[in-house]
Symmetry: C3
């Protein structure tokens, strides 16, 4: 298994960052197998969605509605409402796995691999790519 | 890695389609390993749930509640409310992975592999099965 | 692929059980590869979240809000509101996959592997660990 950790700039606001190009570069030339994408953080996730047509913002809106950043959470470290960031990974998992065929991720036309980070307290994040040859 | 793309009829309404039998047929005789199920579409997901006792409809009801098909979404292509279909895969991921033991998927008694498609604009969908030998 | 089924006590209330230590013991000494965690039950899931600072309870609160244990569900077997337990796995999937490097799960500092069980009717659960060498 080949594995590599990249750094992704996420800034100080909740954000969805498209990392498809970096994942594609990681698997290029590798043949067939499984790409595994993993975020080693407790307040971030990986989503496979369309980007560039509003759905990335829509996902953040949905998370604000499903997991409001208010005072309901027991976890009280960090900024007010931060407790909800710790629940995000239960719904938007910190890993994804995708088939690779001939060194290319077999994504559909409108699918992108995205790092979802609702926690503005960490301006950079790590993402681990791993490739399991088939 | 052996891989195969099947076509699944999803019709013009939101639907949950049980594809367990087709997945089971794909892994039959393969020994031990990992089955990977992937939908190369931006408005569909894979869920492992019970079917035949109402939970498939319950899932669609839950998605209507969590991600209402109304005017709140920035993504405005397609039918009204279609923007929410693009957020579905962040919650119901377009992939799943399952252990295979002796050519059989090690599912529990009440678990089925389901294609979840809230988008009635595409009457057929593709699903990619891949098998990683262990 | 090496695989092993463990039994986890979940009791008669909705609960989040940290199984990181048992997963770590399973992969110890195995080198590099992928850990697959799977629950063969239709009313339980696996979440990668922080434990011990309230987020485990916060997850149960969030699930009560997103999928209320009330009379709205078509699935009507078991206790009142039990239908929602069958929708939980569509959101908190019954599987997870994690990279293993040098026999250690490459989790971040605050990440734990958790069995999420909202169904108090089953006091014990099975979890299958599988390891795919890379």
């Amino acid at each position: 298994m080949d594995t590599e950790v990249i750094t992704v700039r996420t800034g100080s606001q909740a954000t969805v960052v498209d990392i498809t190009d970096r994942a594609s570069a990681f698997v290029r030339g590798r043949g067939d197998g499984l790409l595994h994408v993993f975020v080693p953080h407790a307040t971030a996730g990986i989503a496979i969605i369309e980007t560039g047509a509003g759905s990335d913002d829509d996902l953040l809106t949905a998370l604000d509605s499903v997991l409001p950043a208010d005072g309901r959470w027991r976890h009280r470290h960090g900024s007010p409402g931060h407790g909800r960031d710790h629940v995000v990974p239960a719904f938007v998992t910190p890993y994804a796995s995708l088939p690779v065929i001939g060194g290319r991720i077999a994504l559909g036309t409108w699918q992108s691999i995205c790092l979802v980070d609702t926690n503005g307290d960490n301006p950079t994040r790590q993402v681990r790519f791993s490739f399991l040859p088939g």
